[in-house]
């Protein structure tokens, strides 16, 4: 075998007294896509940061082209062609897309920046990624998926020999992911070595050549992908077989009352005339392609975005929601898709984060810290948050564990209605199964769920009905056997259902294709 492009030998890593990687070996060959998989907190991101020079291993060695890697400073690895796409966004929010893409290695003409060249190259790279973002837009104004694409574009603008991608597709929709896979294949064919992490095992199967499995910081196995099935990978990761990812659906009773009704919702710039009914015990999926406006619809409902028209009723009573507090008071909880920017205070500990949303439930005047601590312990068990000590800042949790904490935080208000936006983003397959069970149980016990997700299997596997949106307009509501991929895609792409140009948009009463008209 040829000299590997990048190799780690017996790498261990400790944070303070805690060792999180125990003697891991790992190699990447030229023109190979090598998957790194494992449960949340297994140490994937940590290993990737070591491979790309962001962390220095506590012991062990990393070699690039057979030469020891210099950890003399960030940028040293990049100079030798090893580039990391971070799991957590690594973008300066106040700067523009172009400024971020070239941050730290700006192009110059003489002493001055060559803005034109950078702008053009950014545009070209973004176009190659099929990403319609303006290079002059500020990153703080972008949606998470767009930020991820910028992150990828930033990596692409480098001289890449080894590209390390930490869950790049976690926040991407199918279309965007497909674009990325095309890119990965092209790079591989050019001889670039690629390290790839994802909790979407179908992706791993489809685009990687070898798989390395980590469990609790230990190297478990490295095998050619072809030798493994998805179940096989899952079993190596979790240590047990994953069967029945989705629990059997228990649809709400036909006469289940409508607990939330939305009509004619307008969110300027994003959503027009959207409406839906949510029934007790129901999981209502929201599907759509990028830019369909599902997030904006949810945030418009909840008072997190400016809403210019529309009404809500809760259990038949009109409900006024001007700010999120009103929604929470009405028993509605919301899980944001932007865990880092809007979900968690990364510099603070687990406990204050967990209770931030529901602090009024922890004492009338003073916050009862003992009850908080107890709640944290419960949450850690219930949501399987893997953390070695409870005193660390949330920012040092692995991505998946942050997501679990965020879900736990959302549930602190004991909602009747749960609106979850990309709930399993960055969650490993074993935990996904737990979260699916959790949502299922929540609905079965009389709760109602609005599930916004870009993962088609998730939508199909959990939802009783599916609302499909396209360009800010509800194009259809699918029920029963209609809830299947082909049909959803047809509505989402405009092949079927209301045409988006229809001025009023969909409302359950007004539409011919009325799937809500249950008796």
């Amino acid at each position: 075998m040829a000299e590997p492009l990048l190799a780690a030998f017996g790498v261990t890593k400790s944070f303070g007294p805690v060792e999180v990687l125990h003697g891991v070996d790992f190699t990447v060959q030229r023109g190979e896509v090598h998957a790194l998989v494992g449960e949340n907190g297994a140490g994937k991101s940590t290993l990737m940061k070591i491979l790309s020079g962001f962390h220095r291993p506590t012991s062990g060695a990393v070699r690039v082209d057979g030469r020891p890697m210099s950890f003399s400073g960030i940028g040293a690895a990049e100079a030798s062609g090893v580039v990391l796409i971070h799991q957590e966004f690594n973008l300066a929010e106040h700067l523009t897309v172009e400024e971020n893409i070239f941050l730290g290695r700006e192009l110059r003409r003489g002493p001055f920046l060559d803005k034109r060249a950078m702008n053009e190259r950014s545009r070209a790279i973004l176009a190659e990624l099929d990403c319609p973002v303006d290079p002059r837009a500020r990153v703080r104004d972008l949606a998470v998926s767009e930020r991820q694409m910028v992150e990828i574009a930033k990596a692409m603008s480098r001289e890449v020999r080894v590209l390390i991608m930490d869950e790049p597709t976690a926040v991407l929709t199918g279309t965007e992911s497909a674009v990325l896979f095309g890119l990965i294949r092209r790079l591989r064919d050019q001889g670039v070595g690629i390290v790839y992490t994802s909790h979407k095992l179908d992706e791993v199967r489809a685009i990687t050549d070898r798989v390395t499995v980590l469990r609790d910081g230990h190297h478990i196995a490295t095998r050619p992908t072809a030798e493994l099935t998805e179940d096989g990978i899952a079993q190596l990761m979790v240590g047990r077989a994953i069967s029945d990812l989705f629990p059997a659906k228990t649809p709400p009773a036909p006469d289940a009352p409508v607990v939330l009704e939305a009509r004619g919702i307008d969110v300027p710039g994003w959503v027009r005339g959207a409406g839906f009914d949510l029934r007790r015990g129901e999981i209502l999926g929201f599907a759509g392609l990028i830019g369909a406006g599902r997030t904006e619809l949810a945030e418009g409902l909840l008072g997190l975005r400016r809403r210019t028209a529309g009404t809500l009723s809760r259990n038949g009573e009109p409900l006024r929601v001007r700010r999120l507090e009103d929604a929470v008071a009405a028993g509605i909880a919301y899980l944001t898709e932007d865990r880092k920017g809007k979900g968690l205070l990364l510099a603070k500990g687990l406990q204050p984060n967990l209770t931030l949303l529901a602090l009024d439930r922890y004492g009338r005047v003073f916050v009862d810290e003992r009850r908080e601590a107890a709640a944290l312990e419960r949450a850690v068990t219930e949501f399987d948050i893997r953390v070695r000590t409870l005193d660390v800042p949330v920012g040092s949790l692995s991505g998946g564990n942050q997501q679990k904490l965020l879900l736990a935080k959302t549930m602190q208000v004991d909602p009747d209605i749960l609106i979850v936006d990309e709930p399993t983003r960055g969650i490993d397959i074993g935990t996904k199964q737990q979260i699916y069970r959790f949502l299922h149980e929540f609905a079965r016990r009389g709760g109602s769920v609005i599930l916004i997700s870009s993962e088609m299997p998730e939508i199909i596997g959990l939802s009783h009905r599916v609302v499909v949106m396209r360009s800010g307009v509800v194009t259809g509501v699918l029920e029963g056997d209609e809830v299947e991929e082909g049909e959803i895609v047809r509505y989402a792409t405009g092949l079927k259902g209301r045409t988006v140009d229809g001025l009023k948009g969909f409302t359950p009463e007004g539409d011919a294709h009325d799937a809500v008209g249950h008796a």
Binding site: R323, E325, K342, L356, L357, K409
Partner: protein
Amino acid sequence: MTPSVMPEAARKPSSGFDLKLYGPFLALAALIVLGTIVNPVFLSPGNIGNVLTRTAFIGIIAVGATFVITAGGIDLSVGSLAAFASGVMIVVMNALVGSMGAGLPVILVGVLVALGLGLAAGLVNGLLVTKGRMEAFIVTLGTMGIFRSLVTYIADGGTLSLNSEIRTIYRPVYYGGVFGISYPILAFAAVALVGALIMYRTRFGRHCAAIGSSEDVARYSAINVDRVKLLAFVLQGICVAIAVVIYVPRLGSASATTGLLWELEAIAAVIIGGTMLKGGYGRIWGTVVGAVMLTLIDNILNLTGAISVYLNGTIQGVIIIVAVLLQRGTVARR
């Protein structure tokens, strides 16, 4: 200072962080040692009493400032608000002597007036920041100029002096005390204690820190960001009013120079105490220590004749920097 009032203490395990936590206290200890070396009188109860009593104004204001800064704001108007509130309080009390006679009721009205003004000023600052969506720095720079010029105006450029009869009745509020502890010290302790309770034990305190860390996360956690920020400014205003209530009996006067640069001192106390200027992390006990340190530095300089008076500022600056360097430089945080 029990751990229950200072929850971070019990929870943070790493030694580097501990130093950051106890840094202000160590720096204070170093300063006390320095003072004792310079002049043994330093440790006399009289001197300590003087120093703490003097600290009370800035200390109380700084407790309020801790909330504003923790919530990501800043208030430059506190010094001039102190002057303005003192001035109005004196004018009102003087005016009431005629009708109500010199007595406790007049003083009570005066106190209420001061508190009312503090509250109103806090509201104005807070509303301009939240509803006006302006930077707190600019808003309070503006109100700083406004309050100061208003007190100059009502004092006709001169000094407003409290009616001497009222003065006699009111005087003990500064100069008196119980068990040898002056009322200003007691007031300072009470404000700090209440401040610590609010900061560490109530929702409001948590919400301030959350907003200072990330307004977006706070908003998505169903926190009424505007209301919390407004409240922080109001709290600051009330703290200033309390400081005024114990300041006025000291010299019984107010003028355009009253409270000059107090804002800088208050903010310095907060930051020396370990609160971050960017917000998100507030420490009341640190603020208390920071305020005491600032007064101590002055005191030590006055107790020694060894240094040219011209160089006072140099020594002061060096001590501040060294004290903070001692407590932070050692912290190997990356």
